[in-house]
């Protein structure tokens, strides 16, 4: 996107109903997942989504939740991780700023579509900032997870404008994943075809980081 906002004026007139409830369901199921384990969360979220209209706003709110997670992760990492080399510290700040820009763009897009952006969850990253290695490993997992989440959700997007926006973001997540992997001395692109994960798989992966 040329700007940080999705330009889709014709879509802004579409009214999306039930989003307050939708946002609430998404948030509370994520919290329930943290408290009771992945299975209860995935069950809840499937039924929650089945009851509502679905659609692009739901997918955008799902993406927004993941971008909140990544933004918070790098914001804390930039402050707390000790022993990073200068280029690693620069990378951390670059990734933080990119993820924050994704949060802003997704929030604006959801509003443009007449939806209600989900609230930022409370995150807990455990020992992820205890060492350089722990931080980089978690960052690697989060970025690879982000790629497969977007790749899995994008084909369900109805609007070509929203799809283009999601494509512009997933490419950045993939670049992030490669950069973090290089720092870790890991192959930047381990597979010829990146994975596409469904929401259940992603929620299971990020569950340990979501407190409420």
């Amino acid at each position: 996107m040329a700007s940080s906002r999705l330009v889709a004026p014709e879509l802004a007139t579409i009214k999306v109903h039930g989003l307050t409830r939708e946002a609430f369901l998404m948030r509370s199921t994520l919290a329930a997942g943290a408290a009771y384990g992945a299975l209860s969360a995935t069950g809840l979220i499937s039924s929650a989504l089945a009851e509502t209209s679905g659609g692009d706003v739901d997918i955008l709110n799902y993406a927004l939740t993941l971008e909140f997670l990544e933004t918070e992760f790098y914001t804390q990492a930039a402050k707390r991780v000790k022993g990073l080399a200068k280029d690693e510290s620069d990378l951390t700040k670059e990734l933080r700023d990119n993820e924050a820009a994704h949060v802003d763009a997704l929030t604006a897009t959801i509003k443009d579509l007449g939806g209600k952006p989900v609230a930022k969850p409370t995150f807990a990253f455990g020992g992820a900032f205890g060492s350089r290695m722990a931080y980089l490993k978690t960052a690697n997992v989060l970025e690879d997870t982000g790629v497969s989440a977007y790749n899995g959700a994008a084909p369900m997007i109805k609007s070509t404008d929203v799809l283009a926006a999601a494509g512009g973001i997933v490419q950045i997540e993939a670049r992030h994943a490669a950069l973090i992997r290089l720092v870790r001395n890991r192959p930047p692109a381990p597979r010829a075809f990146d994975a596409a994960s469904d929401m259940d798989e992603i929620l299971k992966a990020v569950k340990p980081f979501i407190k409420a």
Binding site: S4, A101, N151, Q171, N185, P188, P190, A192
Partner: protein, 230 residues
């Protein structure tokens, strides 16, 4: 690169399987297209759903066009890595392993796209005749810089087609390649020391467009790769 990292470079058979699983529906679409086309106009009118056959056919044809365009770019990339490795100019073990792995990956993309095009009832384009010798003659840094630029181009090319793809299965498959091209681009840009980029676009830098990747049109991409075509 450490030994364990090198071991991770080993083939991942599950990723190929996953690609074809995504395309599970594509064969069915192709068969349906053939069936609907065979039914002809009279059948459609009698059934009261006239646009179905034509629409499915058009969507199939436009996806085939996108897939053949992608195949042309993958041929170009695969050929480039093959020539670079054959030249023996890459001495550094880390760079060599990345060039080899990326080259294998592009070859897998060629094979997967070829299979997909056939599955949809289309004819895969032939590999274009390339002209990378002038690049090779300029030495390793020029080669790596070119690889970085071409991968950025590939990522932008796939992104530019996302909205044109009609079939969800084909879209899912293209996305699974798009993010790999993006990984290649970021890694090569870092290896040649380009940094993040200015965030204002272009084909240089690991994050040349900043937080939001920019697409490129087919015309712009074909113009950019023209120097490499014989």
């Amino acid at each position: 690169m450490t030994d364990s990292a090198l071991r991770e470079l080993a083939d991942d058979p599950s990723s190929r399987k996953r690609f074809f699983k995504m395309l599970g529906g594509a064969g069915a679409v192709s068969a349906a297209t053939a069936f609907l086309a065979a039914c002809g106009d009279d059948e459609d009118k009698a059934a009261g759903k006239p646009p179905a056959a034509a629409e499915v056919m058009d969507n199939n044809n436009s996806d085939l066009k996108v897939l053949n365009y992608a195949l042309t770019l993958e041929f170009l990339e695969a050929d480039f890595y093959k020539r670079v490795i054959a030249s023996g100019m890459v001495k550094d073990a880390k760079v060599a392993s990345i060039a080899k792995k990326f080259g294998q990956t592009e070859q897998e993309h060629v094979e997967a796209l070829t299979a997909t095009i056939k599955k949809l009832g289309g004819t895969p384009v032939k590999a274009p005749k390339t002209n990378f010798q002038p690049t090779l003659d300029k030495g390793l840094m020029e080669v790596l810089n070119t690889a970085a630029t071409v991968e950025n181009l590939g990522a932008a090319a796939y992104l530019g087609q996302a909205g044109n793809i009609k079939s969800k299965e084909v879209l899912a498959a293209a996305l699974s390649i798009h993010s790999v091209e993006a990984r290649h681009a970021a890694a090569l840009n870092t290896l040649v020391g380009r940094g993040f980029g200015d965030g204002k676009g272009g084909l240089e830098g690991s994050l040349p467009d900043g937080a939001f990747a920019k697409p490129m049109s087919e015309a712009a991409v074909l113009k950019a790769v023209k120097p490499f075509l014989a």
